[in-house]
């Protein structure tokens, strides 16, 4: 199956355990993380995560987005094809 890399930009609350939760959620569902970058934003209570994931189609992208948004510490998620 042809797979393409999608970039998820996640704004999350800057708290212990949030990174592990997000990474665990994606990898635990069998998706492969290609690249991951976490950094601060101007608002010190919010971190930005850039996650590149191999996805087979748009419905997988939507699924990951909803799963991320379901997390209690995730504020916003956007995605685009890389």
């Amino acid at each position: 199956m042809k797979q393409e890399i999608y970039r998820f930009n996640c704004f999350v609350e800057n708290r212990p355990g949030v990174l592990a939760r997000i990474v665990g959620l994606i990898s635990g569902r069998g998706y492969n993380i290609q690249a991951l970058n976490v950094g601060p934003t101007e608002d010190g209570t919010v971190s930005k995560m850039k996650i590149d994931v191999l996805c087979s189609d748009e419905s997988v992208v939507e699924q990951i987005k909803h799963q991320l948004l379901n997390q209690v510490n995730v504020i916003e998620v956007t995605s685009r094809k890389r």
Binding site: G17, L25, H66, N70, Q71, V72
Partner: protein
């Protein structure tokens, strides 16, 4: 000022906790020390898994969160199965685990386990407390998260030093979570489309799941079904969301569902799916599922929509909200031809079974006996296996929260403790728990809690002398090679024989076991005594165990083998 432990106990009470299930240990002694003065009723389970399932049963029976308190390390790891079971079925729970002191975390201290790490994937959320000051706020948030959106279990891991530290923090007036806003209002265009699809449908089916019960929407569902004359199938978790005595009921769909429910879904032109997940146990081969239907899917969890099946219309909102708003736009309607077709399926393939051996009780008859003895009013709890499917098939379910079963996880050992939790939650109800001879040996220790707290539950052990569901699959798909599934010594494969084999056939002796736990004990072998014994046990008003020796070769039918379409349903 009060200690963190006191703040926790006060906060649990503020959050509405009336019953606390738990088991003590070094890392929670400060919390236990606050319990004698607390108004909460404390229930001491006999294994933390049991405590977790009791809290789960309490929650399923009421819709209110089940609350459970256990120690660090082995206490926490023992609740893991209970968390996973509640998580996948969307059951609200708050579980407090003790943790070693903050300064010891990461040092492999005595009874240290990474509870947040272990429970992350099997909870809706978890918290690790860093200071006593956080405790009231985190408790309030945990109850909010457990009960809003799709419900689920939340763990609060509290280091011992935070329990001992003093704090002035108060329980918050209201909960504000910056990032979590799970409530979605239905969009008017979607509601218009909902009504149009339903009004235009010639062969509509309502397909109702556990979400209908969680949302409290059973009455709205019935109103929709009657107004537009739409037959209703349910999932296992949806049993009780629609009265199965109703002519519009198709009863349960899925792998062991009725022929009528599965055929109706297969032939439908419109499926109104309410609070379901489209689990693989229900859809079978997903590519061939409901080939002619436009599917409307309403669920409070956005990630469940378009997850397993692609739908025509997905609405992420509360089911009750959707049904009450859309109600007036649904036309009063009839579908005589469709109902006539369905009536034919009901008639040609009813749920039925035949005796296999003279004088041997059929397991399905046990379920019917309970329905009869309780006039359909029992709160039925099941364990997992063949008996669970028979309980789903042969009891006429009619009331929400009166059928509790581990659907998503299929956790053996769930039934007995969940029934106790349900009995404590609903003191007036006749609680009947169906459990297999296999599953009964997983959590039997909890029967003492029922006896101690005078929970008049009846535990009916359907003893078929085997791990029946496993044996059935081996019979049908593994050439009758019964490896590891026969519980009696005599029936076992050669390779499983021990050097000095015992000659007992049925072990353990469930009568002795029941009596050792202080319960009333009954055993039935003779079909003629079945109804009376069951009625007597249920009406005794005491905790009772009824062991029914049943036909060991009975199978659960109909069956759609895993991954197959409806057309491959087998009946015997």
């Amino acid at each position: 000022m009060r200690t963190g432990a006191q703040a926790l106990v006060d906060s649990l009470v503020k959050a509405g906790t009336e019953v606390l299930f738990g088991y003590p240990g070094g890392a929670v002694l400060d919390i236990f020390n606050c319990l004698p003065e607390s108004p909460m009723k404390f229930i001491l389970g006999r294994h933390e898994q049991g405590c977790a399932h009791m809290a789960d049963g309490y929650a399923r029976a009421t819709g209110r969160p089940g609350v459970c308190l256990v120690t660090s390390g082995p206490g926490a790891t023992n609740v893991v199965t209970g968390l996973a079971t509640a998580n996948i079925d969307g059951v609200p729970m708050v579980v407090i685990t003790g943790q070693v002191g903050l300064s010891l975390i990461g040092t492999d201290a005595f009874q240290e386990a990474d509870t947040s790490g272990i429970t992350r994937a099997i909870t809706k959320h978890n918290f690790l407390v860093h200071s006593a000051d956080e405790i009231p706020e985190i408790v309030a948030q945990a109850f909010y998260i457990a009960t809003h959106g799709k419900p689920g279990p939340v763990v609060i891991d509290i280091p011992k030093n935070c329990q001992q530290a003093l704090t002035a923090a108060e329980y918050p007036e209201r909960v504000s979570l910056r990032a979590y806003h799970p409530e979605h209002a239905p969009n008017p265009n979607d509601l218009a489309k909902f009504a149009r699809l339903v009004n235009e449908a010639k062969r509509p089916v309502i397909y109702a799941g556990g979400g209908v019960i969680t949302s409290g929407a059973a009455a709205d569902l019935a109103a929709l079904a009657r107004k537009a004359e739409i037959p209703v199938a349910t999932t296992l978790m949806g049993l009780g969301s629609f009265d199965e005595h109703d002519n519009l009921s198709l009863r349960m769909a899925g792998m062991h569902g009725t022929a009528a429910a599965n055929w109706a879904i297969h032939k439908a032109d419109c499926i109104i799916a309410l609070g379901v997940r489209f689990s693989d146990r229900v859809t079978g081969n997903i590519k061939l599922y409901a080939p002619e239907a436009k599917i409307i899917h309403v669920d409070c969890d956005p990630s469940s929509i378009n997850k397993n099946v692609k739908v025509e219309l997905g609405i992420c909102a509360d089911i009750k909200d959707v049904l009450t708003t859309v109600g007036s736009r649904i036309k009063r309607n009839t579908h005589p031809e469709w109902l006539a077709e369905i009536a034919k399926w009901k008639k040609s393939r009813p749920m039925s079974y035949k005796p296999m051996h003279e004088g041997v009780i059929m397991p399905q008859a046990v379920i019917e006996a309970v329905d009869k003895a309780t006039h359909g009013e029992a709160l039925v709890v099941t364990d997992v296996g063949q008996h669970q499917m028979w309980a789903a098939q042969y009891f006429r379910h009619n009331t929400p929260r009166n059928f509790l079963s581990s659907g998503g996880m299929g956790t053996m050992g769930f039934g007995i403790p969940a029934a106790i939790g349900a009995g404590l939650a609903q003191p007036g109800k006749k609680v009947v728990c169906f459990v297999g001879d296999g599953g009964a040996q997983m959590t039997f220790e909890e029967v003492v809690c029922a006896v101690e707290h005078k929970v008049p539950a009846t535990f009916i052990i359907i003893n078929n002398n085997c791990l029946g569901m496993v044996r059935q699959w081996q019979q049908l798909f593994y050439k009758q090679r019964y490896a590891g599934s026969i519980l009696s010594v005599r029936g076992r494969l050669e390779m499983e024989h021990l050097e000095q084999d015992l000659d007992y056939d049925y072990l353990p002796d469930f009568m002795l076991l029941a009596k050792a736990h202080g319960a009333e004990a009954y055993r039935v072998i003779d079909p003629a005594k079945l109804d009376d014994t069951i009625a007597k046990a249920i009406d005794s008003g005491k905790t009772s165990v009824v062991e029914v020796i049943v036909e060991p070769r009975a199978n659960v039918y109909p069956m759609i083998p895993g991954g197959k379409p409806v057309t491959e349903m087998i009946f015997e």
